[in-house]
């Protein structure tokens, strides 16, 4: 519940936030969350961090607590992407996928940790997540392996361009 919610005040849901999230692939799945907590027990980020709890994150999504979810120090980056919550949820909410969709919203606002933006940058310029250097090809040659072929980036770049339609992110 929002911290400043007065007991007599009705809860206000930020539907604009939820509509934006719903446009991401599988972003809308939190709507099926009935807050049972089955996703919590096997969540390593919950075990190792007091600030992280996938059930609570789903609740904040349901309320649309944008400021708490999408701040620059967002707790979302603590998720280890282990997929245990996806495995355990009886409602097929796929909490980890909702979290990734929320990260897409962070990205749209230009907020992500340096290590994340670095790897994304490598992918967007080379088509791989590891930069290919002559040292790598020398290592490969030791095992009789050919140099790594370049990725056809002309094709990949065209695929990365956003759609012109109306249903993409605003």
């Amino acid at each position: 519940m929002p911290e400043d919610a007065d007991r007599d005040e009705p809860v206000r849901v930020n539907f604009r936030f939820r509509r934006e999230l719903a446009q991401k692939i599988e972003g809308n799945l939190a709507s099926f969350c009935y807050q049972c907590g089955a996703c919590v027990g096997d969540c390593p980020a919950t075990t190792y961090s007091s600030g992280f709890n996938p059930r609570e994150i789903m609740l904040k999504v349901l309320y649309g607590l944008e400021d708490e979810l999408l701040g620059s120090e967002s707790v979302l980056w603590q998720c280890t992407n282990c997929y245990n919550c996806h495995e355990r949820c009886p409602q097929e909410v796929k909490p980890v996928e909702v979290i990734i969709s929320l990260k897409n919203m962070l990205a749209a606002r230009g907020i992500y940790p340096e290590v994340v933006s670095k790897i994304i940058g490598t992918f967007e310029t080379t088509g791989r997540t590891v930069r290919i250097t002559s040292a790598i090809d020398r290592q490969r040659a030791k095992f009789g392996l050919p140099p790594l072929p370049p990725v056809p980036m002309d094709e990949v770049r065209i695929l990365l361009e956003p759609d012109t339609g109306t249903d993409e992110e605003e």
Binding site: K24, I25, E26, D42, P44, A45, Y48, S49, W77, Q78, C79, T80, N81, C82, Y83, N84, H86, E87, K94, I100, S101, K103, N104, L106, A107, Y112, P113, V115, V116, I119, I120, F123, G127, R128, T129, V130, I132, I136, Q139, R140, K142, F143, G144, L145, L148, P149, V151, P152, E155, V156, I158, L159, L160, E161, P162, D163, E168
Partner: protein, 287 residues
């Protein structure tokens, strides 16, 4: 010979060519032929690029899959991350609306995703197409008495409905594959724990790895059997960092399963790149 389109991904060919070498050595001996998937890119990775833009991530994955469709072959992967991305893409693209969106993008480069290919991780290909018995028969150097702790990692098994590899709560494939080499597979107490590599904070992965290494150590095994190159980097380079930070001795050599298989099939230790590991599995030299 059963043929597959080989999707090597980024991490193994770039950082761990010894793993790729081993795969290319062992598969023909098991009756599996692999055809290189020309023009493929990063799968793309299911952690970083996916967290920027799921739709673009899906479009690039669909392009990779369409390359295999052109060859009329199923895809074999060697990395749990690639397996996760490509399997999930196939799952998501069963949705007609999403498939149309993605095909609109692929149309820009004259490609189409049809949905005619499957993705199989190399371990499941060996289990299902070759069988444990034939793996056993291919061994010329049985690893009798070698104790191998097993680390599955997360993405090979979960989400199980999409990955369709094994029961995530009681998987068998790694144990059976290790036993086919004559070695003893051991499930350490924290076998289920994630390696933490895909977590973007400092402390959580450190503490997780510390707990993981503590139970691996308590199991008193010779090596740690790995199936995922990302987990491998956590247990090789990462293990060194944990030892320093916690001022404790952790020195279990991680070994990628297909290098172990290659060794058991008779490929000399020196040829398998073990010397470039931070923790070298010198215990294998007794075989």
């Amino acid at each position: 010979m059963k043929r597959f389109a080989f999707f090597p991904g980024c991490l193994i060919p770039a950082r761990y060519p010894a793993m790729e070498f081993a795969i290319r050595q062992v598969l023909p001996r098991l009756g599996i032929e692999i055809v290189d998937l020309e023009g493929s890119s990063c799968c793309p990775d299911p952690i970083y690029f996916k967290s920027k833009d799921k739709l673009s991530w899906l479009a690039v994955a669909a392009r990779n899959l369409s390359l295999a469709e052109d060859l009329g072959l199923d895809v074999v992967t060697n990395c749990s991350g690639c397996t996760a991305t490509l399997s999930e893409a196939i799952h998501l693209l069963e949705d007609d609306i999403l498939k149309k969106k993605v095909n609109d993008r692929l149309g820009r480069i004259g490609r189409e995703y049809k949905g005619t290919t499957r993705v199989r991780h190399i371990a499941t290909v060996v289990r299902d197409e070759v069988g444990y018995e034939r793996v056993r028969e291919s061994v010329v150097r049985p690893l009798e008495g070698l104790k191998v702790a097993i680390h599955y990692g997360c993405h090979l098994l979960k989400p199980s409905k999409i990955m369709q590899v094994d029961n995530p709560d009681n998987p068998q494939v790694m144990e059976r594959l290790v036993e086919a080499l004559g070695a003893t597979a051991i499930r350490h107490r924290n076998w289920y724990l994630c390696c933490g590599k895909a977590c973007q904070t400092e402390d959580i992965p450190m503490n997780m790895m510390h707990d993981l290494l503590t139970t691996v150590k308590a199991a008193e095994t010779d090596i740690l059997g790995m199936i995922c190159p990302t987990c491998f980097s956590q247990f090789d380079y990462g293990q060194m960092k944990i030892s320093k930070k916690f001022d404790e001795v952790f020195d279990i050599p991680p070994v990628y399963y297909f290098q172990l298989l290659a060794f058991a099939q008779g490929i000399p230790y020196e040829k398998l790149g073990f010397d470039s590991q931070r923790f070298k599995p010198e215990c294998l030299l007794r075989f």
